[in-house]
Point group: C2
Chain length 479, copies 2
C-alpha cells in the first residue's frame, strides 16, 4: 500500500490555516472582526456555486489535472530511458513553464542535488531550468554540463515565447554539432499545446517527441500537467504522491461548506485586507528554505491572475494586490524591521513546517558564556520554530496582522495540497475582486514592441510607434 492510500497518514499530513493574528481580537482595529468575515458568506456561497459549475464545464482546466493519471504514465514512459544515460535535464521555459518546476525542485530535491555525483543520485537526473535569456547565464549553465549526457525539455504552451524559442534554436544547433541530429531527436521533448503553435508544427514536421499542455490550462496553473511532471519525474520526485496530495486537497475543497472552506477563507482574508483594510501588499514568508521558490510560484499566480485594469463588467478598476516574497528566518535580518515599524500596508502570510527530515542538534560548547550557553542541547529545529513563533507574536503585538499556513512536513503529498490550495484560493479571489483570473492582457504590448524591434514580419507598426515616440531628454540623464 502506498502511504497516501492510508487515511491515518493523509489526515496527519493535512495542511491547515491559523488566522488568529489577523483578527481584531489580537491586533485591534486594524484586524478583521468575525462580523466582517461573516458578511462575506453570501458571496462565498455564490462563489462556490460558480466554481462548481466551472469545474463541470471544464473551463477551469487545472481542477482536472490531479486526476489525469494517464498523463503521468506517458511522462514516466518518456522519462524511463533517460535514467540509462542522462545526467542532466535542461528545461527551456519561463514564467508558468518554469516557476512550478523550480518550486518542486527546491522543495523536494537535495539542496545540493545538481552537485551530487550521478552515481550518488541514482535514477535522478540533474535539473537546470533556463528561465532567462541572459547570455552569460545560459552560456554558463551549459558550460558546466557534459553535453553528451544532456536531455532537453522545451516548454511553451503557446509555442511562441521568444526567450524559449531563442534558447531552443541555440541549443538545437549546439547539440546537433556535438551528438548528431539523430541522437538529438531522441533527447528532445517539446511540451506545448496539442494542436497550435510553432513548436507543435515543428514537432509534427520533424517528428520530435511531445507532451501536451491542455488548452484550457493557463501557464501559471499548469504545474501539475506535463509541464511540471516531466522535469519532476526526471529529477526523481514522486509525482504519483504529488497528484494524490492535490486530489486530497481538491476533494476537501469541493466538499467543505463555503464558510469552512480553506481556500475561500484564505481568499477572503487576502481580499479583505487588500480592499477594506487598505493593505495593498501580501507578504508570503515560509519558514523553510526549500519553500522559497514556492513563494516565487505563488507570486506569479497571485500577481498575474488578479492584477487587472478592468473588471468583468469592463470598468477600469486597476485591481490586485502585490505579492512580496520573503523567507524566515533569513528576512528577519532584512525585511522584518520594515514590516514591524514601516507603513501599515501589509498582510503577512507565514508558512510553518512542523517537522523537517533532519534534526540538527546544537552541542553544548562553551556553556559558561551566557549568550551562547542557552543554545546548547537545543536543535536548529527548535530555534527555527521559536523564531517563527516570536516573529508572528511580535508582529501581532505591534498591530501587524499575520496568518499562518501550517504544513505538517514537506513532501510530495503536502506540496500537491499547497499547489491546489493556492490555485483555488487565487481563482476564488478573482471572483471576489470581480476580475478574470485566467488571462494576462497587459503583457501583450511589450511582446508586440519586442517583435517590432526584432523585425518580425507583421509587426512593423510597433517598431514605427516606438521610433516616433518623443526622444529622451539629456537633462534627465545623470552621467
Amino acid at each position: 500500500m502506498k502511504r497516501y492510500q492510508d487515511p491515518a497518514w493523509t489526515d496527519g499530513m493535512a495542511v491547515s490555516l491559523d488566522y488568529n493574528y489577523a483578527m481584531a481580537d489580537f491586533v485591534g482595529r486594524v484586524g478583521l472582526t468575525s462580523q466582517e468575515l461573516q458578511a462575506l458568506n453570501p458571496r462565498l456561497s455564490s462563489l462556490h456555486e460558480d466554481l462548481s459549475a466551472r469545474r463541470e464545464d471544464g473551463r477551469l482546466g487545472f481542477f482536472k489535472l490531479p486526476y489525469q493519471t494517464e498523463i503521468l504514465e506517458e511522462v514516466q514512459k518518456l522519462a524511463k530511458p533517460l535514467f540509462e544515460w542522462c545526467w542532466d535535464l535542461v528545461v527551456l521555459g519561463i514564467g508558468g513553464s518554469a516557476l512550478g518546476t523550480q518550486a518542486l525542485y527546491q522543495a523536494l530535491c537535495h539542496p545540493q542535488h545538481n552537485r551530487l555525483s550521478p552515481a550518488r543520485r541514482q535514477h535522478k537526473c540533474g535539473l537546470h531550468i533556463l528561465d532567462n535569456v541572459d547570455p552569460d547565464y545560459c552560456y554558463g549553465v551549459l558550460d558546466g554540463l557534459d553535453l553528451r549526457r544532456v536531455a532537453v525539455n522545451v516548454i511553451s504552451k503557446s509555442g511562441g515565447t521568444a526567450e524559449t524559442l531563442a534558447q531552443f534554436l541555440f541549443l538545437y544547433q549546439l547539440l546537433k554539432g556535438r551528438i548528431g541530429e539523430d541522437r538529438l531527436r531522441q533527447r528532445l521533448i517539446l511540451t506545448t499545446d496539442p494542436e497550435k503553435g510553432v513548436l507543435r508544427r515543428l514537432a509534427e514536421r520533424e517528428g520530435f517527441k511531445t507532451l501536451p499542455v491542455p488548452p484550457e490550462v493557463g501557464g501559471r496553473y499548469s504545474v501539475l500537467s506535463a509541464v511540471g511532471l516531466l522535469p519532476a519525474v526526471v529529477a526523481g520526485i514522486n509525482a504519483d504522491e504529488l497528484l494524490a496530495g492535490a486530489r486530497y486537497m481538491d476533494v476537501r475543497l469541493k466538499t467543505a461548506v463555503p464558510e469552512e472552506n480553506l481556500a475561500y477563507r484564505l481568499a477572503a482574508l487576502f481580499y479583505l485586507f487588500a480592499t477594506a483594510k487598505s493593505r495593498p501588499m501580501l507578504v508570503f514568508m515560509p519558514y523553510a528554505r526549500s519553500l522559497a521558490s514556492l513563494g516565487d510560484w505563488f507570486c506569479q499566480l497571485w500577481a498575474e491572475s488578479l492584477g487587472k485594469a478592468h473588471d468583468l463588467e469592463g470598468r477600469l478598476v486597476h485591481a490586485g494586490s502585490t505579492p512580496v516574497r520573503a523567507l524566515g528566518t533569513t528576512d528577519q535580518h532584512s525585511q522584518l524591521q520594515l514590516y514591524i515599524e514601516g507603513p501599515p500596508d501589509k498582510l503577512i502570510t507565514f508558512v510553518e513546517v512542523a517537522n523537517f527530515q533532519h534534526r540538527v542538534e546544537i552541542p553544548a560548547l562553551w556553556g559558561d558564556q551566557d549568550d551562547l550557553g542557552y543554545l546548547g542541547c537545543r536543535s536548529f529545529n527548535e530555534l527555527l520554530q521559536t523564531e517563527y513563533t516570536a516573529t508572528a507574536f511580535n508582529l501581532m503585538r505591534a498591530g501587524r496582522p499575520n496568518l499562518t499556513i501550517k504544513v505538517p512536513e514537506i513532501n510530495p503529498f503536502t506540496l500537491g495540497q499547497l499547489f491546489m490550495l493556492l490555485e483555488t484560493a487565487t481563482v476564488a479571489a478573482g471572483f471576489l475582486f470581480n476580475v478574470n483570473p485566467l488571462d494576462q492582457p497587459g503583457v501583450e504590448g511589450g511582446k508586440k514592441t519586442t517583435y517590432g524591434l526584432m523585425g518580425r514580419p507583421g509587426f512593423e507598426a510597433y517598431q514605427q510607434e516606438f521610433a516616433s515616440s518623443p526622444p529622451l531628454r539629456e537633462e534627465y540623464l545623470v552621467k
Copy 2:
C-alpha cells in the same frame, strides 16, 4: 598597469542614470516635473553638507571602507594558504553578513561555480553561504561537501546572532570529530567586532583567527569590509578592483554638485515617488540574471534603513517604502501584468547592462516559420536588450513611471560602484525621510521573545509575556 588605473577604461565603465520615463513629459501627471525636482535642491544642499561632515567625523563608517586597503591585504594573507588545500568555504552569516557576499558571488562567479571541479576552478574555492537555520538546508549543504577540504568563516558583527552561533557550535563539533581540533583552528576565521561580543571573547580565549568589522559600520553597509572581502577573495573575485570601483564612485559623489549628484538624484526620485506621488513600492528589476542577488542586498539596505516608526524628532511616522525584487526578462512572464495593469502604486527601477561577457548567437533554423524566423541571426544579447527597451517603453505608455540605472558591463569595478551608489543613496534617502538609516530598533522585540522561549538567562520576562498572552481561538483555525 591595472585596468582601473587607466582613466579611459574607468570612464567607459561609469554607472549612470536615465530617469526620462519617471517624468511628466513622458508619463503625464503621475510623473514628476522639473519644478518638483528643483524644489528639493535646497534640501539636497543641506544633505550634502551633512554627509560631508559625517564623512569627516567617521560616523558613516562605510565611506571609509574602499580606502582601507590594509584590510584587503590582511584578508589576502589569510586567504592565500587556503588555495593550497581548501575546496569549499562555508560562510555562517545572515542578513548583512550574507547578502553582500551573495550579491558578489552571483554577479562575479561562474553560474556553475560550485559545481565545477576544483581542478577547473584553480585558486578559487567553492562558496556556500548558510544564511538560514533551516535544518534540512544546513544538513543538505554540508552533506554535499568533503568536510576534510572545508574552511569556515563565521560572520556576526555583534557576535550574538542566534542562527549564526547555533551553526557555529554545530559545525565546530562536527569538524572537530572529522579533522581534530588543531587542524580545525587553522580552518576557522571569525569576522566580528574588534572588541565586543562572545565571538571576540572566544577568539581571544581559544586563539582563533579573526578579522574585524569596524564598529561604526552596520551589517547592511559592511560588504566592502572583511565581511564581504574574505569570501570574495577566496571565491576568486578581484577585490582590489572592487574597492577601486567603490572609490571611483565615492570620489564622483563627493565632488559632484548636489543637483547633479547621481546618489542624491536617485534618493530624491525614490523619496518623491514614495511620498508626494503616493507610490509605496519600489521595484528593483535588473535585466541580468547575475544581479538578482544584488536586488536582495539592496532590498535589505532600503527596507531596514528607512522602515522606521519614528523620525529624528521622535514623532510617530511609520516611514519607509517597500522594496520589491524582480528580474528581467523572467518577471515579464510573472509580475509585469500586475505592474502594467494593477494598482498604480509602484516606481520601477531597472538595471540595464550594456555588454555581457558572452555573445550567444541564435542560428537561423526553420526560417520559413514567421514566428521563429525573425530570431535567426540575432543574439540572446539583442533579445534581452530589446525586451528591456520594450518593457520600459510600454510601462511608460501605460503611465507607469520607471527609471534605469545603466551599467556598461558586470565586473568588480562596476559592482563596487553600485554598492557605493546605493549605500550613499540610501543614507541620503534617510535624510529626506528624516529617519536614522543606521539602526534597526524594530527587530529587538522578536529577538528577546526568542531568547525568552529558548530559556536564555535574563530573558524570563519575555517568556512570561508570551505565556500570558490570550490563547488562540479555535474558530480562527481551518483544519
